[in-house]
Symmetry: C2
Subunit: 453 residues, 2 copies
């Protein structure tokens, strides 16, 4: 019992200071979602395993946290089944529920389950933790938050323009310099088509995706290995080295993809989205990037990724358009587009660059020192008046030595300490110490409220 | 696959309207916590089972949701152990982690684990879901939120006064009429002592607790059954029928418990708390109630319970003082006092009495109808300006029939619809329809911002 307790690996406690900072990020994102007309939903932490299994690939199934059935969890397992130790089969018998792995599958389940109550287009946001039994490492946790916004039931590219504008708003408000990277799945399909390898779109995009890391010659070597002929590799070269302004890139793509209907559709979509976001104006960089291939098996149109410019940390937000969110639950043909803010990485970026305003603090505005029963009771009355004026305040609860009380105020970074001793009690005044400047004033409660407001 | 998906029994989805209402409650509670100087922490959903097991009694152990170990979960079980089917032993081998059952044990674990970083007294609040494998029924869920505030490391009754004041503030702000019931464990101990049955405090308080439900004669019958003699039962009678003002009750208790040192200490504490809260003033009723015996095995001093006066629903907030929060984790002697707001029951009360202000809504302030590409792009520019002024706004994304667009605005209860058609586009104006009054105005964007602010 006396062993120091701990928490499961890959999980975290958050201290008051950490919470104040995280709340600042979540509140900024939430404010953005609400301004843009997204509406919040929440889903349970536990979903039926039948909802979750098979949605994240074989690897994903293994990374789901599964909940042991209550009561006699062995009741549907025979001795033979137990000793045969076929784990996936036993898992199904021991567990009916699992913890959600992301917010997308629960959202799809929500849309199908509540289809008759929902008005389309449905703009939802959801900010909740997810759990993955991944190997924990720096910046990767087994419990972390996702902040998703999606529009389902509308094909319009106005949704893409709005989501880009939302990303621009949130990161501008947080003060993080970011580059928003834009691509379109149809452009990737068009590229595969025009170089004569439509069937190899995955190999090609996986290779293209590595160009920043391994360089063009290594990418080409990989493509050769995958069986691409030299003509195709040569045809790809201008794409791998695509440069210039967005307009120039779009121009080059238009020429290259002229022979592919799908590819040209992708270029048209990209152009419309760029025209929209440029007409609105944006603080963040917006860059066309054909090497962007995230979520390829999933996205069908626009692909979005956001990177911080001042910290090396990978993508801090991503998203795109998908054509069949709910098909797997028996409701086909529902198109949507969404983005997900990576709150934990954004938190790491904010910490590293120290981007929090000074007002982000866990401290109360003023602590009343405690000089004894009568003084404390009078202090509580003053404190009540301060709170009614919206000013946070607290009484040091015990009549401890002044040094101890002041050291508490100091370590908690409380900016003001109020003193109601014997003489102040008689006079009906308060001695207010400014802990930052070291100054002090004798005030009435009305003056104090005025000063701290 | 085409089967309509569902969620585990006892869990809930929350729709946008439900979220708006729940957020109003959580925000009101949070605002209270912050005004009173409580600081937020969060702990992981999963705790080690060694942290959770044995803390909630044998029944509680069974109600913990346990997480199946990742990888080869059978690796430490022999065939013999598996087929022997000794469930508690197997549970320990199959599962290392469980979902938190309340916020108190994780808080105790947090305090011990972070003892060197914490400044005492430590005033923490925590608002997170908890999970219990209870049989679901009306008003009882398997996933629900707790909202706890505790002060640890201070014996002062000022903390009790502050917590009562906090309860008064939160329920006044929510507009719920409540009665705060107050008792003290030491008074219950004193009662058992003076009637000559110190060892029977649990039996006595369990019986007293039922007086409202079964009446005094049935309570007495129960006490007789438990082996209390007639003298003791007669001595208890004035307590079971204690009435009058708080002062009168305290007076009666003082006389009855004069022979018990513990009992008199309890009366003194109760008096000091009453004096404090009365001096500060309160909107809610505060009633001494010696039949209040919640958490008897846990609380050592003040006991607090809050009931809604206008809805039959049981306790909606409770708390008390405990002397040994962290002893079980090897850190003895840390005293504390805390309260827990029952958010889900408060939600039920608010719904039943329809106590939400009109401003609690999930809707955006204004929707721009969509008349085509050029009109939509101009609308997006206006929308950007509105958002920059803090006004939530959205574009109907598709160029759908006007009837469909208006019906969306209607069903989403959006109070204003803005129309930028061909003529407005030419004039640089916006036709703003008030959906509640049915009126409409032709405005510039500056006039529109002014009007909606």
């Amino acid at each position: 019992m006396a062993q120091k307790p701990s928490i499961p690996k890959g999980t975290r406690d958050f201290s008051p200071l950490e919470m104040a900072r995280r709340n600042y990020i979540f509140d900024t994102i939430k404010k953005g979602f609400a301004l843009f007309g997204f509406k919040q939903i929440e889903t349970p932490a536990m979903e039926n395993l039948s909802t979750l299994m098979g949605k994240y690939g074989e690897e994903g199934d293994k990374l789901l946290f599964k909940i042991l059935n209550s009561g006699d969890f062995l009741k549907s397992c025979s001795d033979e089944e137990l000793t045969a130790r076929v784990l996936p089969k036993l898992t199904n018998k021991l567990c009916e529920k699992g913890l959600r792995y992301d917010l997308t599958v629960p959202f799809a389940r929500f849309v199908v389950q509540h289809r008759n109550e929902l008005q389309l287009p449905f703009k939802r946001y959801q900010i909740q933790p997810v759990w993955r039994a991944d190997r924990p490492q720096k910046g990767r946790y087994r419990e972390f938050y996702q902040c998703d916004a999606d529009v389902v039931g509308s094909d319009s590219l106005n949704n893409e323009i709005e989501l880009l504008s939302l990303i621009d708003t949130v990161f501008s408000n947080l003060g993080i310099n970011v580059a928003i990277k834009l691509n379109n799945r149809k452009i990737l399909a068009g590229i595969a088509e025009v170089i004569g390898h439509s069937d190899r779109i995955v190999d090609i995009t996986v290779a293209i995706d590595k160009i920043d890391k391994i360089g063009i010659e290594n990418v080409n070597a990989e493509l050769r290995e995958k069986g691409l002929d030299e003509a195709a590799i040569e045809a790809l070269r201008p794409l791998l080295t695509l440069s210039g302004s967005n307009e120039e890139k779009v121009e080059t793509l238009s020429k290259m993809l002229a022979a592919s209907e799908t590819g040209m559709k992708g270029v048209e979509e990209l152009k419309e989205v760029l025209t929209g976001i440029d007409a609105l104006g944006h603080n963040c960089d917006v860059d066309v990037d054909v090497s962007l291939a995230r979520g390829l098996n999933y996205y069908t149109g626009t692909i979005i990724e956001v990177k911080a410019k001042d910290v090396e940390i990978g993508s801090i937000t991503g998203g795109g358009r998908y054509d069949n969110l709910t098909g797997v639950f028996g409701m086909p043909g529902l198109s949507g587009v969404g983005i997900s803010f990576g709150a934990d990485r954004i938190y790491d970026v904010m910490n590293q660059l120290n981007l929090y305003p000074e007002s982000v603090t866990q401290a109360v505005k003023v602590m009343f020192a405690n000089f004894g029963k009568n003084e404390a009771l009078q202090s509580l009355k003053y404190i009540k008046a301060l709170r009614e004026a919206g000013i946070s305040a607290e009484l040091y609860p015990d009549t401890a030595k002044m040094k101890k009380q002041m050291s508490y105020a100091d370590s908690e970074k409380i900016p003001f300490v109020a003193i109601v001793g014997e003489s102040e009690l008689e006079e009906g005044t308060i001695m207010l110490k400014n802990m930052v400047e070291g100054s002090q004033d004798k005030l009435t409660i009305e003056q104090m409220i005025e000063k701290l407001k």
